[in-house]
């Protein structure tokens, strides 16, 4: 992969005329108008993984006047063709470039930002590689597959000064009825909150199936263990019960991470612990069911699947009222996508900055490990390791299939 500079479309346009040395026609679209900024002021975006979630992300970016969507990558030929057609129709041209291999897209020097919506086992590699190539990144949730990936993604973002946003729009959008009173101090000190989400991921051992689509299977598997093609294995359906990659531990943390990104994200937002990670995970196996209690350094407990307890049930301090705090929100206009694009322009941290997104995913991963090992765990967030539990530490990461590396 070539070493790329952080040249932007603006830099490119400044020098392109001189470099080519030939006259060219500047179209009205390039110059912009009262409703659309000139091309030199638009954020140039590409997309990686244009399946169910990627299509939605692509549509959101395409709909923005301050974005020029120019390239996409997907391992499915049909997806590439259909998706290119959507982009080209939107701009009324044939300019959108398509790539089977995301590395070719990331090597382009004219892209300011990319959105990533592949299965989860690809996220860390793509986000880190995008940062190395000077791109800002909007990464769909769940952002990580293992605990070790998070700190490496944060490090890459900070190292190269990149804006990296996680992808849950529900964290801010779905829980305002709890967030607003919580930040207004109306619950007093929050002692605990309950999150109901699942199920756990499962190992996949689906049978060999004849390939029914044009897909680069080796690239779809990427860093995951080799396995034969099966349409359910790589299905992007939202099933978390065995009919899509979201169900399987080689590609996803199951419902724990998939919906956990929203629910755990909402709970940590309500309780204002988005910057923290828990230090103790207590495993309960009782007649009424298995559940967890995550204890934070500030004393907060987040329960997971506490029996007979509704999702987002908050235990506050009756009679106490805390000083109100301003509720953080999106910058710019257009929800989470607008927040990301605005931050690309201003270099501020987005609402779902990668660090808080990773802290959310950590809850789900710690929970998956505690349930699998059927025991309580202690977590050292500073060292990113389990305390006094060498066996649990084996679950912090997993080897990636060659030649993939983070």
């Amino acid at each position: 992969m070539s070493l790329t500079t952080n040249s932007t479309r603006r830099d490119f346009l400044k020098t392109a005329g001189a470099a080519f040395g030939v006259p060219y026609i500047i179209t009205s679209a390039a110059l912009g108008n009262s409703e659309r900024p000139p091309a030199s002021d638009r954020i140039v975006v590409g997309g990686i993984g244009i399946g169910n979630m990627g299509r939605g992300d692509q549509g959101a970016f395409l709909g923005r006047k301050d974005v020029q969507y120019v390239a996409l990558s997907d391992v499915r030929e049909e997806v590439r063709e259909k998706s290119k057609a959507v982009v080209d129709k939107h701009y009324n041209n044939g300019d959108c470039q398509t790539y089977n291999d995301f590395r070719e897209l990331l090597a382009r020097t004219d892209l300011d930002a990319v959105h990533v919506a592949t299965p989860d086992h690809w996220h860390s590699i793509m986000v880190i590689e995008a940062c190395r190539n000077g791109k800002d990144v909007y990464c769909q949730k769940p952002e990580t597959l293992t605990l070790r990936e998070g700190p490496l993604m944060i490090a890459a973002a900070r190292r190269y000064g990149r804006v990296v946003s996680g992808g849950s729009q529900r964290v801010l959008g779905d829980y305002r009825k709890y967030v607003d009173p919580a930040w207004a101090g109306e619950f007093g000190k929050i002692k605990s909150i309950n999150v109901n989400v699942g199920p756990l991921p499962q190992l996949c051992n689906l049978p060999v199936e004849e390939m029914s689509e044009k897909i680069d299977w080796d690239l779809w598997l990427g860093p995951a263990p080799w396995a034969p093609y099966n349409s359910k294995r790589c299905s992007g359906s939202f099933s978390i019960n065995g009919s899509s990659w979201r169900s399987f531990s080689d590609y996803s943390g199951g419902g724990m991470t998939d919906w956990g990104a929203h629910h755990f994200g909402g709970a940590t937002f309500i309780c204002d612990v988005r910057d923290l990670q828990p230090e103790e995970i207590t495993y309960f196996d009782e007649a009424e069911g298995k559940y967890l209690a995550y204890r934070y350094p500030n004393g907060l407990v987040i329960y997971h699947n506490r029996p007979k307890t509704e999702n987002m049930y908050i235990e506050g301090t009756p009679g106490e009222k805390l000083a109100p705090k301003a509720v953080p929100t999106y910058k710019g206009e257009g929800g989470i996508y607008g927040d990301f694009i605005e931050c690309v322009k201003t270099r501020e941290k987005p609402f779902r900055d990668i660090e808080s997104a990773v802290n959310t995913a950590v809850l789900a991963h710690l929970g998956n490990i505690a349930y699998q090992l059927k025991r309580s765990l202690k977590w050292d967030a500073a060292k990113q390791e389990f305390v006094g539990d060498a066996e649990a530490n084996r679950f912090v990461d997993r080897a990636r299939r060659e030649p993939w590396q983070i």
């Binding site: 500079t5 490090a155 000064g161 051992n205 396995a227 090992l373 990461d397 060659e402």
Partner: protein, 234 residues
Amino acid sequence: MLDTAFEALKKFDWGSDLAELAAIEDAAIAGHANPETREELENRLISALNGELTRDAQDYVCRKLAMVGTVASVPALAGLLVKKENSHLARFALERIPVAEAAQALREALSHVDGSLKVGIISSLGARRDSAAVATLGGLIGDRDPAIARSAALALGTIGNAESAQALTAAMRTSPINPQAIIDGLLSCAEAMLVSDQRAAASAIYKTLAADSHPRLVRLAATRGLLSCGSKQA
């Protein structure tokens, strides 16, 4: 139950019911509280791995050895590192088994493989932050295979000690095959040095990378690093 599961393992293949192997999973979990159970399970898994199994079953065994394997598992796993079909899952276990012999097996396998398998083993040595591999990895930064050279540079960055930085700096002075990976490795080393309060060493790396000869992205990263060195100092 465990006997039945190991019988099922002999015929296990794509499409087989994973529930047939549940007793093995249960034993792997129970091994935490009962060392004898763990040792017995490990021995049976090693024995199975040394026998006739499908690739799918071998993969399953390697996944379980990643949970319960000790030094006793290393020879069986090491033998798989050089096989195209098995190398990844062998690393799946060896990368996570916390004994020096596992790292040694990975280092020794380097001279017996090439191409992608070598890249995989290098990445596992990096993930283990194996300082004993630094000299070998330093040599591989100049490998004629760009994928191997890149992988070695990134692994050295992950290991992140003074010797890694030295090897990367030396490679940077010659004609680097993959400057992006070397630079990334150096920045990673500098960050590790900063965390361990080796400001002078970190600063030296950042100053080199802040030079005009480097792309803007790198110069900005180095400048941010230099500012961090300064703020740490203050």
